[in-house]
């Protein structure tokens, strides 16, 4: 009996859904943090956590099993050499969902989906710097 074992179809046909989940999992491993809707995040998390569990043990078999879903070789390598070992001591729960509130356009519940041990890679600080520079330039022009 398959009672109470469900998943969200996300209003997509199987092939479309499969592609969506693959792409989003790939992007999650690449950037370690994505902003998406709550429904999608919950489904992506499901797939991504299974892959990370596989990635904890680097073997040819595991690489091939995950490789069926993640076609980007660079991301696959990162998953097995960086993300997997990082989570060696953790038994599940590798990702975190933080609620952001509703999207203005369609009132969809938006969230941040990120790897639990994500470190600030300094990109944000750089972005802020650039923003400040732009503002300063604008102010100069205004004068």
């Amino acid at each position: 009996m398959k009672h109470k074992i469900g998943f969200n179809k996300l209003n997509r046909v199987p092939a479309h859904r499969k592609a969506l989940l693959r792409n989003m999992a790939t992007v999650l491993f690449k950037h370690e943090r994505i902003v998406t809707t709550k429904a999608k995040a919950k489904e992506v998390r499901r797939e991504a956590e299974k892959m990370i569990t596989r990635a904890k043990e680097d073997s040819v078999h595991n690489r091939r099993v995950v490789g069926r879903k993640i076609t980007d070789e660079a991301v696959l390598a990162k998953l097995f050499t960086d993300i997997g070992p990082r989570f060696k001591e953790r038994n599940g729960g590798y990702t975190r969902i933080l609620k952001l509130g509703e999207r203005q356009h369609d009132a969809a519940d938006m969230v941040v989906l990120e790897l639990v041990d994500r470190k600030d890679d300094g990109k944000k600080a750089k972005r802020e710097e650039r923003k400040a520079e732009k503002k300063a330039k604008k102010a100069e022009k205004a004068e």
Partner: protein, 62 residues
């Protein structure tokens, strides 16, 4: 066949429906970082903080 004896009055209809029309105000708490009222378990839209961590950089244009 059983048939209603009286027409349902406007008042009776509205009284019945009014129960489901009640509006409730959302429960708000104050942000620990900037004091802005925020929904529970949500990242503060004004300063982007949640549980003492900077989660997002709020949109300064808005």
């Amino acid at each position: 066949m059983a048939v209603p004896k009286f027409k349902t009055s406007k008042a009776r209809t509205r009284r019945r429906r009014s129960i489901n029309m009640k509006l409730t105000a959302p429960t708000l708490v104050t942000c620990g970082n900037c004091g802005n009222p925020v929904l529970l378990h949500r990242v503060c839209p004004k300063c982007g903080f949640y549980r003492g961590r900077q989660i997002i950089t709020p949109d300064t244009n808005a």
